[in-house]
Subunit: 353 residues, 2 copies
């Protein structure tokens, strides 16, 4: 029988997801000229015809790691599983066209549960105009897993990568940040209350925006359209799935630049600010280390500033600097605080467990 | 908190995978003209340029359902996870070019375990010339899951579907069948022996071929090439992942035809025949209901028979008939036995649990 040698063992917790992927995939060679860009961006890029590319992104959500069915409606879960993948296509400045869906479910899930899940998937497909083209449905020993692959398209010249930001370019983020994280805190609090005493009804009133951002996020298809209308091509782009600090770190590392962002510029909804205070968390921490906002973080040339100025969907939060200047948040008192890559390490702590 | 209503619950076991997928996906609409063929074949077909299509297939392997790590080396598992997906691309008569790999692993797996898995994935990529272009690596609450999406390409006119077989066409299968299933029986037998008494060493001698077919199957990229060289375009095709009976049933149902196959024509390796007798199973049953052979099952026009006659990789096992003639195996005594769709129902019994 097969037994792993005990000699050398490195726990996954000690590595972190991005380093692990780097190490596991570093020796792979490319065999096809159609493979334009592989591992390392929001989506892979494949040559389609002379002027067009296909974009491919894949992400899985696992029960107990990414979601807790105690407070996640299955319909919302199906919707969200599609969103997190479409978001990766939009982060390449592309149009999402197709998805495949793989579901593994244990015998505790009846057919009606999967129907709820597929209702959410269908709603996402209808609203975002993507086609479900295939997948796999299988049983699992325990728990629910949903893995989606999204396929998109873009003109080759329109594709925006993570590694093409330059010094002095402006850093822009869409929408507002931190709300999905605060939504999760509320759900977790009410779960604890319920577990302690199942007779107490959950108190979710007044938290609609935060809960919706956590349970039913929207990918920013609209932003890709706005950017085209404004005639702005971002110089780099990534989606905000793991918290602003982690995403900025990716752009800086892959583009070989540093960055300065300004605390006072961060777009934070008042619901986040007031709830964060109740929870004794800094709203800035929610933004930097929260995650699951599925907004877009991108950079533009300084000369494009006038085109986006005053746009309600976009906020300039800072600019890229020289690589050796590092990655800093300038706080409201003007002090520079160095940011570390935090992001969510799934091997350390569940996002949503 | 969210509780599923107890009123109506249909267990997944009572439905079966294919019917379930049909029901879950029946209301989905197509939004893009680039979506040529969605759910229902080995791979989805997407328009690439005027004359070319992309092919997309996805399949997941779960611990306890599709594999047992007590006897499955992780390197072989990685290799097999790629093979089962490439096989779907070849079953469309296409060329596989790229894969994405999503892995979920619990904390019981050290980094070295994932390295073994990726060694197998890399070996498959190198031998079959496919590029790893992305994926997702996450933790799981328990167990190991590997989900692969394969992307291929084909000339639009070369794509072979399941629903285009016609009456009187010849049914052809590649290689031999039933060996992967017998390999599994041997591994399961030795597992039981080991569990009863861990001091008894497993007796796997002489079963090399059967074990290799189970643990390290090969997808039939070569057959796609042979068919081109022979100037034969199959009239329908599917890969043999769930046993011959189930695959034939798919071709018949989707093409609106019946079929007759002949027991004496079934390609069965002598290792299968002799081992099946030891296990008191009919070799024919292994072929019909076994599965995981990853051979190709296809049909050709009668006039193409001379082109494949005597080819060591291909065996004519019968022909398609009128739909109302049904699906029959003619046994060695000339008796007609009606075949039912069996295949593996993952919700009833693990393939490999």
């Amino acid at each position: 029988m097969i037994i792993m040698s005990d000699e050398k063992k490195t726990s996954l917790e000690s590595i972190g997801e991005f380093k692990l992927i780097d190490e596991l995939t570093k020796d792979f060679k490319t065999h096809h000229s159609s493979t334009i860009y592989g591992v390392g961006d929001d989506a892979a890029v494949i040559q389609r015809d002379e002027n067009t590319v296909s974009l491919v992104a894949t992400d899985a959500l696992l029960e107990g790691i990414h979601f807790n069915l105690m407070y996640t409606p299955l319909m919302h879960l199906g919707y969200k599983a599609v969103m997190v993948n479409l978001s990766d296509i939009y982060a390449m400045n592309g149009t999402a066209e197709q998805i495949t869906v793989t579901i593994a479910a244990s015998s505790r899930f009846p057919k009606e549960a999967l129907e709820e899940l597929y209702k959410g998937i269908k709603k996402a497909c209808d609203i975002y105009e993507v086609d479900l083209i295939g997948g796999d449905t299988t049983s699992s020993v325990s728990g629910l897993m949903i893995s989606v692959t999204a396929i998109g398209t873009a003109k080759k010249e329109d594709v925006v990568y993570r590694n093409t930001a330059k010094e002095n370019e402006l850093i822009v983020v869409t929408g507002d940040l931190g709300a999905a994280y605060m939504g999760l805190q509320i759900l977790e609090r009410e779960k604890s209350v319920y577990k302690a005493n199942p007779n107490i009804q959950p108190d979710l009133d007044g938290y609609d925006y935060l809960l919706e951002r956590q349970l039913k996020p929207e990918a920013r298809k609209d932003v890709v359209k706005f950017l085209k209308e404004l005639d702005v091509k971002p110089t780099s782009m990534i989606d905000v799935s793991d918290g602003l600090a982690s995403e900025l770190f990716h752009l800086c590392k892959q583009s070989n630049v540093g960055a300065q962002i300004y605390d006072e510029k961060l777009p934070i909804d008042t619901a986040v600010s007031t709830t964060a205070i109740d929870f004794e968390i800094s709203p800035t921490t929610c933004v930097l280390n929260g995650g699951e906002d599925y907004e877009l973080l991108f950079s533009i040339k300084q000369e494009d500033f006038d085109k986006i100025k005053g746009n309600p969907h976009m906020t300039v939060i800072g600019h890229f600097t020289a690589k050796d200047s590092g990655l800093y948040l300038i706080d409201k008192q003007g002090a520079a605080i160095e940011l570390k890559a935090q992001g969510w390490n799934h091997f350390n702590e569940g996002k949503n467990a």
